[in-house]
Symmetry: C2
Subunit: 338 residues, 2 copies
Amino acid sequence: MARPTIADIAQRAGVSKGAVSFALNGRPGVSEATRERILRIAEQMAWRPHSAARALGASRVDSVGMVIARPARTLGVEPFFAHLLSGVQSGLSAESISLQLLIVEDTETEVEVYKRWTSEHRVDGVILVDLTVRDPRIDALKELELPAVVIGGRGGKGQLASVWADDRDAMLTIVEYLAALGHRRIAHVAGTPIFQHTQRRIRAVRDAAPRLGLVDAPSLTTDFSDAEGAATTRRLLAQADRPTAIVYDSDVMAVAGLGVAMEMGVSVPGDLSIVAFDDSILTQLMHPALTAMSRDTFDFGRQAAEVLLEVIANPEVPVNRRTADPVLTVRESTAPPA
Amino acid sequence: MARPTIADIAQRAGVSKGAVSFALNGRPGVSEATRERILRIAEQMAWRPHSAARALGASRVDSVGMVIARPARTLGVEPFFAHLLSGVQSGLSAESISLQLLIVEDTETEVEVYKRWTSEHRVDGVILVDLTVRDPRIDALKELELPAVVIGGRGGKGQLASVWADDRDAMLTIVEYLAALGHRRIAHVAGTPIFQHTQRRIRAVRDAAPRLGLVDAPSLTTDFSDAEGAATTRRLLAQADRPTAIVYDSDVMAVAGLGVAMEMGVSVPGDLSIVAFDDSILTQLMHPALTAMSRDTFDFGRQAAEVLLEVIANPEVPVNRRTADPVLTVRESTAPPA
DNA sequence: TTCGGGAGCTATACCGGTTTATCAAACCCT
DNA sequence: AGGGTTTGATAAACCGGTATAGCTCCCGAA
């Protein structure tokens, strides 16, 4: 027999469909003996719930969604997403909940997807990444009443659940490390200013500058691309009093920056120290290998999944979980200034 | 009213549920006038099908799956998957079919996932990547009668549908290009021998060697990691009569190889030419930028999606689509031998 | 002895679509 | 005009589960 249904099991066990449903879902209504018997038969017949049937009856889909709104080309290079995804899945797999992934170009499309998913009842909740300042997705999700968890930034007044690491602290660690080496001219090649984490990092640099006696600590925003990372680096290094250290908001930009430095005859770490905010194989492949801020992205994803499941189970209680602090991995690209 | 159902539409239009269903699915059974009216009302009420209900009734889920069986750490760096995914989704979005993505550690788990997906009716079909020699997944899918399309390799005698590019031809192009530059000692740092495409590339090199008068053209297999790529390169360059050109089976390994060369004082492209099989931002970020074989990965994915939909619609007819040939992008890492 | 109440189970409605059997009216042809 | 086919629609079954009302025992308390 192909794909047994609970009706088949019921027949074989000599009980009603209802009893089988009770037994399989571990809820009261059947005796322990009957439950045992039903479970054994189900096992034996290799029964598996029909997801659609269950979804229709119980109005939960056992599936969560994740939309990534970035142009595809920036996406691939960053191990960030791959690790995050794996982590999310490991968090979901325990409950055998599946993940819908969608890559779109912009935030408007992303919101559209949420609307569609909601009206088609395709997901029980979603995971958000790349929170921007005054993020339109928050209100949209609120209105849709779709459970959600934000990765990498507190949910804001909207009070979405969130999982975050302390960007500010991480950035302070980097700057203090460089200052301790003796650097006073530190530049920050940041990402898009619309991302909240970019803002937090910029603020951290600005706040720390006077305390550490930094002469100048400009944060220059980019679109996260290697091209702008390179261009910004070129501009910085062409200045009369160029910085002796540059902090990049992503590994890709740091690598691009390293290339520019080499091309301009600026030796790393002799004339210039480089730190990447975000670690990956990329930073390790370079010569010199780049000093970088490492986060446990996998764990990040896992926790996000866990929190999302909590929120789905109990939408009233917003969870706000802080993950382990990022760690600075010192490699060959940093040294005291000449 | 929250989330209208077809019953609501039927009532408002003064027709039966059946009529509404016919109208919404564009099938005969209603007059053109009635159809128009129903469609307008549905539009107006912002009706969207309940995916579970549809799945239950029509026994199709409008969802396809893709499992990637690779350790997460190799995954992120390769833009390959990100582009592929975007492509797949663009191919699916036309029919508004969603994608389930799963990253697992090994092929056994992957097969388990297929079984689970099938018995839970979670997907209508799947997309396979990284075909190995005597791939166990083919038989498994055959047995499950789950529609599938293989990316990057002919489906084999199992006759799964497939979408592929000509690896052999691509490799020949590379080797011929290097030979034309004057290289006679060419080495090939390959990927895992269990992948079919690795085999095809190795065979291409071996076959071309005598014709092009290559002195030696060894193919050395690795696990695709940067570590083994580097180690293999080191071994090759330490030889008495070291190769004047190396072809790498992935961009990551090529970058690692470049690092080793620089470290050993072997200048690129002066003493050594480097070609990467697979292009990405990585190859462009290097100094010198790497000559690489570029495939239109996005299009690859899009076509895979299209073919899968065809196969789902008509499982009898296996499709075998060949995509555009990869193109060699010459950059700074190749030159005539010293 | 009767009644209340809980445990254990059945029967059945229900979720929101699709599909099929059925049917009335219109149309078509000699 | 009568019989056959086509068209446009309906009512009801169905998909595979979940949720619930209700029934039957059985036990203990009044």
